[in-house]
Amino acid sequence: MDQSSLVSRDVAERLEALALPFNQYGMDPYGISKRHLGLFFTFLEVFYKHYFRVRCFGIDRVPATGPVMLVSNHSGGIPADGGMILASLFFDHNPPRLAHGMVEKFAQTWPFVSQWFSRMGQLPGLPEHAIRLLRDGRVLMVFPEGARGTGKLYKDRYHLVRFGTGFMRIALQTGTPIVPIAFIGGEEALPTIYHAKTLAKIFGAPYWPVPPYLVPMPLPLPCEIHFGEPLRFEGNGNEADHVIEGYVEQVRDAITRQITYGCAIHGQRRAGLPFDHLGERP
């Protein structure tokens, strides 16, 4: 079967507008494949536009070119937020951009999974990859809460857990602006009430989310992505821990403000009330 016929027209058009140096085989130097991107974004489009009905706020705050680090809260048991942020940059940003996520290293040993991650530019979470991508002017997607974020229980929803600090040193080292992001709706889409430790051990995963309806599959609830103003920090990445932690705290505060605003909008939207303008956006 001709796989190009499976790619939606919108995806095909936006793929052409993607500023990646594809060669005659449709491959870029990081092993990203145009064909795989087409199939993946067509699949993702269904979830982005119809399943989660994602709305973006302030996506124009992401620069059209050059390096940028998207730093978001992490939630929802399974990291659907990563896929939706990826889709937002592709479907709702003009021109479309490809966000590179940093994948857990253990996923690289999984057949097929590792291959697809690689073809979509989702590289193992190594500082070397982050630095190289940013120096190449790419978009890096970071979740400083890591698995601690997606693993949090429903009762702790939208409370940010401890942030790692490695992203800040890399941002300083590469002179990259940080766009703080709040992903809203993920906590309700997959409300984790319990962690099945035995299942997690069997699958080699850090946790296994168990929602009230037992199957760890997100519900088709609306989600929003809020992009904050880009933050720029001065330094070279070799600053003392307390300086870095201070900068990280500023990013954390910016995300918290987006979450607070985003939760208010989310409530309006789910209640069927007007939600596009809810006071001044942070």
């Binding site: 060669n23 005659q24 085989y25 491959m27 870029d28 130097p29 990081y30 092993g31 494949s33 290293k105 690289q108 040993t109 999984w110 057949p111 097929f112 999974v113 590792s114 291959q115 690689s118 073809r119 590289l123 193992p124 190594l126 070397e128 990859h129 190289r132």
Partner: protein, 303 residues
């Protein structure tokens, strides 16, 4: 200038020798194997680099530059033989360089010493550790030879030393690790994995080595051509049939059914990529590859 090439009878070394001779250099060669009727401007001494006649060549000919290519990469010989030729041979050649007033020594090594691993960075710089000692233990002798050549940089500062780590070469010569891997009609892959392979044309590789000589580089440099392509694309581009094999079955079918023989450690190299960053070499020499990935695969396929 007088240039000595060890291992000159190998296909890639011959190509380099001819380029250097055409550029007006006085080229001499050392090899256990014969090169009957070498072209004009090239003299070949049939001797083992580890033996006394080879020392006589250094003593009598007094080469200004030595390109050390007398290493073996195939696994048909014993491990001890590989170690003797690759490590001991490299040690002796560099000692001769030091003792007989050679001004510039070039070691032509391979990028495979970086090794392939799930948690390794995609692009390897020259300062990356050689993981192959654990991921592909059969390559330990080449890793040792490379690292030993690097020691000349601090042991004998007066001897300019260039350690080149070339990606796979492919093209009309049909020689080398990748060409052997692609020799048959079917190419084994590990089911569910499709790593990036980095290759360069035989001619581009020869140009890179000659550039390293002309620029008198001092240091360790990765050398690469076009951006990497997945193994599946490489198979299609060379008109080979990719045969994905579940990993548990791999040791039982390899070497049979027309598939190439591979040592156990090679599995990691067809599961995970080894891609190098060659920016330092390009910046130091101005090197630009002339053949893109399509041209490399086509020249291999059609010659």
């Amino acid at each position: 200038m007088k240039i000595l090439i060890t291992g000159i009878s190998g296909a890639h070394a011959r190509m380099i020798a001819q380029k250097l001779a055409a550029a007006g250099h006085d080229v001499i060669g050392l090899d256990r194997r014969a090169w009957p009727n070498p072209p004009e401007g090239i003299r070949v001494f049939q001797a083992d680099v580890r033996k006394r006649p080879a020392a006589d060549v250094f003593r009598n000919e007094r080469p200004e530059v030595v390109i050390h290519m007398a290493t073996i990469t195939h696994f048909s010989g014993s491990r001890e033989e590989r170690l003797r030729i690759n490590l001991q041979g490299t040690r002796i050649v560099f000692e001769h360089c030091h003792e007989h007033g050679v001004k510039h020594a070039v070691f032509v090594g391979r990028h495979t010493i970086y090794g392939a691993a799930a948690d390794a960075p995609l692009y390897r710089g020259e300062d990356e550790p050689p993981l192959a000692v654990t991921t592909f233990p059969e390559l330990a002798d080449l890793v040792a030879a490379d690292l030993h050549a690097c020691t000349a940089l601090w042991r004998w500062p007066e001897l300019k030393t260039t350690v080149l780590r070339l990606v796979y070469t492919l093209g009309p010569l049909h020689r080398g690790t990748l060409a052997s891997f692609l020799a048959g009609p079917r190419v084994p892959m590990i089911l569910g994995f499709d790593p990036l392979f980095q290759m360069m044309h035989d001619e581009d590789a020869a140009d890179a080595v000659t550039l390293a000589v002309e620029k008198r580089l001092n240091g360790v440099f990765n050398v690469a051509g076009p951006p990497p392509v997945p193994l599946s694309v490489l198979c299609r581009g060379t008109h080979r049939q990719a045969l994905p094999i579940p990993e548990p079955l791999f040791p039982h079918v390899i070497g049979r059914f027309g598939l190439p023989h591979l040592p156990p450690g090679a599995v990691s190299h067809i599961k995970y990529p080894i891609v190098v960053d060659a920016a330092a070499f390009r910046a130091a020499t101005g090197f630009e590859h002339r053949h893109d990935a399509h041209a490399v695969m086509t020249s291999f396929r059609e010659s």
